[in-house]
Amino acid sequence: MIHVKFFASVRERVGMAEMQLPCPPGDFSVEEVLTMVEGQAGTELRDVHLLASLNQQHVPFTAPVQDDDEVAFFPPVTGG
Protein backbone atom coordinates (compact mmCIF):
# COMPACT_ATOMS: atom_id res chain seq x y z
CA MET A 1 0.00 0.00 0.00
CA ILE A 2 1.21 3.51 -0.81
CA HIS A 3 0.08 6.24 1.59
CA VAL A 4 -0.48 9.46 -0.32
CA LYS A 5 -1.08 12.89 1.24
CA PHE A 6 -2.10 16.20 -0.30
CA PHE A 7 -1.67 19.70 1.07
CA ALA A 8 -2.95 23.23 0.49
CA SER A 9 -4.19 23.95 -3.06
CA VAL A 10 -3.32 20.40 -4.20
CA ARG A 11 -5.47 18.96 -1.40
CA GLU A 12 -8.32 21.20 -2.50
CA ARG A 13 -7.96 20.16 -6.15
CA VAL A 14 -7.88 16.45 -5.30
CA GLY A 15 -10.80 16.93 -2.93
CA MET A 16 -9.26 14.86 -0.15
CA ALA A 17 -6.29 15.00 2.22
CA GLU A 18 -5.18 11.38 1.94
CA MET A 19 -5.44 8.41 -0.41
CA GLN A 20 -4.32 4.78 -0.04
CA LEU A 21 -3.12 3.21 -3.29
CA PRO A 22 -2.33 -0.45 -3.94
CA CYS A 23 1.37 -1.07 -4.50
CA PRO A 24 1.88 -1.71 -8.21
CA PRO A 25 4.14 -4.57 -9.39
CA GLY A 26 7.78 -3.84 -10.39
CA ASP A 27 9.85 -0.68 -9.93
CA PHE A 28 8.01 2.62 -9.82
CA SER A 29 8.69 6.20 -8.86
CA VAL A 30 6.87 9.24 -7.45
CA GLU A 31 5.96 10.02 -11.08
CA GLU A 32 3.92 6.79 -11.37
CA VAL A 33 2.26 7.44 -8.02
CA LEU A 34 1.15 10.80 -9.39
CA THR A 35 -0.34 9.11 -12.47
CA MET A 36 -2.30 6.73 -10.23
CA VAL A 37 -3.51 9.64 -8.09
CA GLU A 38 -4.70 11.52 -11.15
CA GLY A 39 -6.62 8.44 -12.30
CA GLN A 40 -8.25 7.97 -8.89
CA ALA A 41 -9.07 11.63 -8.39
CA GLY A 42 -10.15 12.16 -12.00
CA THR A 43 -8.20 15.41 -12.11
CA GLU A 44 -5.01 16.73 -13.66
CA LEU A 45 -2.37 17.61 -11.06
CA ARG A 46 0.70 18.05 -13.26
CA ASP A 47 1.79 21.61 -12.86
CA VAL A 48 5.16 23.33 -12.96
CA HIS A 49 4.57 24.10 -9.29
CA LEU A 50 3.87 20.63 -8.01
CA LEU A 51 6.37 19.37 -5.43
CA ALA A 52 6.67 15.95 -3.87
CA SER A 53 8.04 14.36 -0.72
CA LEU A 54 8.81 10.76 0.07
CA ASN A 55 8.67 9.66 3.71
CA GLN A 56 8.62 13.32 4.70
CA GLN A 57 11.69 14.43 2.75
CA HIS A 58 11.71 16.56 -0.39
CA VAL A 59 12.47 14.37 -3.44
CA PRO A 60 12.51 14.67 -7.21
CA PHE A 61 9.68 12.93 -9.12
CA THR A 62 12.17 10.28 -10.24
CA ALA A 63 12.65 9.01 -6.67
CA PRO A 64 11.86 5.26 -6.40
CA VAL A 65 8.91 4.35 -4.17
CA GLN A 66 8.48 1.16 -2.15
CA ASP A 67 5.57 -0.58 -0.47
CA ASP A 68 4.33 1.22 2.67
CA ASP A 69 6.05 4.50 1.70
CA GLU A 70 4.42 7.85 2.39
CA VAL A 71 4.27 10.11 -0.67
CA ALA A 72 2.95 13.68 -0.57
CA PHE A 73 2.13 16.25 -3.23
CA PHE A 74 1.90 19.96 -2.54
CA PRO A 75 2.53 23.42 -3.96
CA PRO A 76 5.70 25.44 -3.16
CA VAL A 77 5.85 26.16 0.56
CA THR A 78 5.06 29.64 1.89
CA GLY A 79 5.89 29.47 5.60
CA GLY A 80 8.01 31.73 7.73
Binding site: K5, F7, A8, S9, R11, D47, V48, H49, L50, L51, A52, S53, Q56, Q57, H58, V59, P60, F61, A72, F74, P75, P76, V77, T78, G79, G80
Partner: protein, 162 residues
Protein backbone atom coordinates in the same frame (compact mmCIF):
# COMPACT_ATOMS: atom_id res chain seq x y z
CA UNK B 1 18.92 23.06 19.38
CA UNK B 2 15.16 23.19 19.74
CA UNK B 3 12.33 23.11 17.21
CA UNK B 4 8.67 23.64 18.08
CA UNK B 5 5.64 23.51 15.80
CA UNK B 6 2.55 24.68 17.62
CA UNK B 7 -0.83 26.35 17.30
CA UNK B 8 -0.55 28.53 20.41
CA UNK B 9 1.30 31.85 20.75
CA UNK B 10 4.66 32.10 22.52
CA UNK B 11 6.59 34.64 24.59
CA UNK B 12 9.97 35.41 23.02
CA UNK B 13 11.76 36.34 26.28
CA UNK B 14 10.50 33.26 28.10
CA UNK B 15 11.34 30.90 25.24
CA UNK B 16 14.84 32.34 24.83
CA UNK B 17 15.51 32.35 28.58
CA UNK B 18 15.05 28.61 28.69
CA UNK B 19 17.96 27.83 26.37
CA UNK B 20 20.73 26.45 28.58
CA UNK B 21 23.25 26.05 25.75
CA UNK B 22 23.06 29.79 25.20
CA UNK B 23 24.69 30.74 28.52
CA UNK B 24 27.51 33.24 28.16
CA UNK B 25 26.97 33.42 24.41
CA UNK B 26 27.62 37.12 23.99
CA UNK B 27 25.32 37.51 20.99
CA UNK B 28 21.69 36.59 20.35
CA UNK B 29 19.99 37.45 17.06
CA UNK B 30 16.29 36.78 16.63
CA UNK B 31 13.95 37.02 13.68
CA UNK B 32 10.22 37.27 14.35
CA UNK B 33 7.79 37.05 11.46
CA UNK B 34 4.34 38.50 12.10
CA UNK B 35 1.06 38.59 10.16
CA UNK B 36 0.79 41.73 8.05
CA UNK B 37 -2.57 43.43 7.77
CA UNK B 38 -2.28 43.90 4.01
CA UNK B 39 -0.98 42.05 0.96
CA UNK B 40 -0.56 42.92 -2.72
CA UNK B 41 -4.20 43.39 -3.43
CA UNK B 42 -6.22 43.78 -0.29
CA UNK B 43 -6.62 43.88 3.47
CA UNK B 44 -5.99 40.69 5.35
CA UNK B 45 -8.61 39.66 7.90
CA UNK B 46 -6.76 36.54 8.97
CA UNK B 47 -4.19 34.02 7.86
CA UNK B 48 -4.74 30.25 7.87
CA UNK B 49 -1.51 28.29 8.01
CA UNK B 50 -1.61 24.64 6.97
CA UNK B 51 1.34 22.35 7.63
CA UNK B 52 2.49 18.79 7.12
CA UNK B 53 2.70 17.33 10.65
CA UNK B 54 5.82 15.25 11.05
CA UNK B 55 7.63 16.50 7.98
CA UNK B 56 7.55 20.05 9.33
CA UNK B 57 9.49 19.11 12.46
CA UNK B 58 11.92 16.98 10.40
CA UNK B 59 12.65 19.83 7.99
CA UNK B 60 13.15 22.38 10.78
CA UNK B 61 15.50 20.00 12.57
CA UNK B 62 17.38 19.39 9.33
CA UNK B 63 17.92 23.11 8.65
CA UNK B 64 18.92 23.62 12.31
CA UNK B 65 21.57 20.91 11.98
CA UNK B 66 22.72 22.43 8.71
CA UNK B 67 23.11 25.86 10.35
CA UNK B 68 25.06 24.30 13.23
CA UNK B 69 27.41 22.66 10.72
CA UNK B 70 27.93 25.77 8.59
CA UNK B 71 28.19 28.38 11.35
CA UNK B 72 30.06 28.55 14.64
CA UNK B 73 26.91 28.93 16.76
CA UNK B 74 26.19 27.79 20.32
CA UNK B 75 22.48 27.12 20.01
CA UNK B 76 19.35 27.76 17.97
CA UNK B 77 15.60 27.84 18.53
CA UNK B 78 12.83 27.76 15.94
CA UNK B 79 9.14 28.09 16.79
CA UNK B 80 6.60 28.07 13.94
CA UNK B 81 2.86 28.36 14.43
CA UNK B 82 0.01 26.94 12.35
CA UNK B 83 -3.75 27.46 12.34
CA UNK B 84 -5.74 30.68 12.07
CA UNK B 85 -3.77 33.82 12.96
CA UNK B 86 -4.77 37.47 13.10
CA UNK B 87 -2.82 40.52 11.87
CA UNK B 88 0.13 41.30 14.20
CA UNK B 89 0.17 37.72 15.52
CA UNK B 90 3.60 36.11 15.61
CA UNK B 91 4.08 33.37 12.98
CA UNK B 92 7.68 32.32 13.45
CA UNK B 93 10.65 32.86 15.75
CA UNK B 94 14.22 32.05 14.76
CA UNK B 95 16.81 32.67 17.49
CA UNK B 96 20.54 32.03 17.24
CA UNK B 97 23.19 32.29 19.97
CA UNK B 98 26.88 32.68 19.24
CA UNK B 99 30.05 34.18 20.65
CA UNK B 100 30.27 36.80 17.92
CA UNK B 101 27.49 38.83 16.44
CA UNK B 102 28.38 38.40 12.75
CA UNK B 103 27.94 34.64 13.08
CA UNK B 104 24.59 35.03 14.84
CA UNK B 105 23.31 37.38 12.11
CA UNK B 106 24.50 35.10 9.31
CA UNK B 107 23.11 31.92 10.85
CA UNK B 108 19.74 33.49 11.74
CA UNK B 109 19.33 34.78 8.20
CA UNK B 110 20.36 31.42 6.77
CA UNK B 111 17.78 29.64 8.96
CA UNK B 112 14.83 31.84 8.02
CA UNK B 113 15.79 31.82 4.33
CA UNK B 114 16.09 28.02 4.17
CA UNK B 115 13.00 27.52 6.34
CA UNK B 116 10.95 29.68 3.97
CA UNK B 117 11.97 27.60 0.97
CA UNK B 118 11.74 24.13 2.50
CA UNK B 119 9.54 23.81 5.61
CA UNK B 120 6.11 22.48 4.58
CA UNK B 121 3.82 25.33 5.62
CA UNK B 122 1.24 26.96 3.37
CA UNK B 123 -0.44 30.28 4.03
CA UNK B 124 -3.99 31.14 2.98
CA UNK B 125 -5.02 34.76 3.21
CA UNK B 126 -8.59 35.50 4.27
CA UNK B 127 -9.59 38.87 2.78
CA UNK B 128 -12.90 40.73 2.36
CA UNK B 129 -12.85 39.48 -1.27
CA UNK B 130 -12.50 35.85 -0.23
CA UNK B 131 -9.57 33.56 0.52
CA UNK B 132 -6.53 32.65 -1.56
CA UNK B 133 -3.36 30.66 -1.18
CA UNK B 134 -0.24 32.77 -0.84
CA UNK B 135 2.30 32.28 -3.60
CA UNK B 136 5.53 34.04 -4.35
CA UNK B 137 4.84 33.85 -8.08
CA UNK B 138 3.17 36.92 -9.64
CA UNK B 139 1.93 34.79 -12.54
CA UNK B 140 0.21 32.38 -10.21
CA UNK B 141 -1.18 35.16 -8.11
CA UNK B 142 -2.84 36.42 -11.29
CA UNK B 143 -4.50 33.02 -11.50
CA UNK B 144 -2.98 31.88 -14.79
CA UNK B 145 -1.78 28.31 -14.68
CA UNK B 146 -0.64 28.66 -18.26
CA UNK B 147 1.14 31.64 -19.76
CA UNK B 148 4.06 31.91 -17.38
CA UNK B 149 7.05 29.71 -16.78
CA UNK B 150 8.83 28.29 -13.76
CA UNK B 151 11.84 26.21 -12.95
CA UNK B 152 11.13 22.48 -13.38
CA UNK B 153 9.33 20.94 -10.44
CA UNK B 154 11.20 19.86 -7.33
CA UNK B 155 13.70 22.70 -7.11
CA UNK B 156 17.16 21.13 -6.65
CA UNK B 157 17.91 23.10 -3.47
CA UNK B 158 15.02 21.35 -1.74
CA UNK B 159 16.30 17.85 -2.29
CA UNK B 160 17.77 16.25 0.78
CA UNK B 161 20.65 14.76 -1.17
CA UNK B 162 22.46 18.09 -0.97
Amino acid sequence: MIVKVQEEDFDVSAECAGMTESKGAGALVTFIGTVRDYSDASDILSLDIEHYPGMTEKELERVSREAAQQYDILDSLIIHRYGVLQPEDKIVLVAVWSRHRATAFDACRFLIDVLKSSAPFWKKEITPQGSRWVTDCPGCRAGSREGHSHAPHAAPHLLHSR
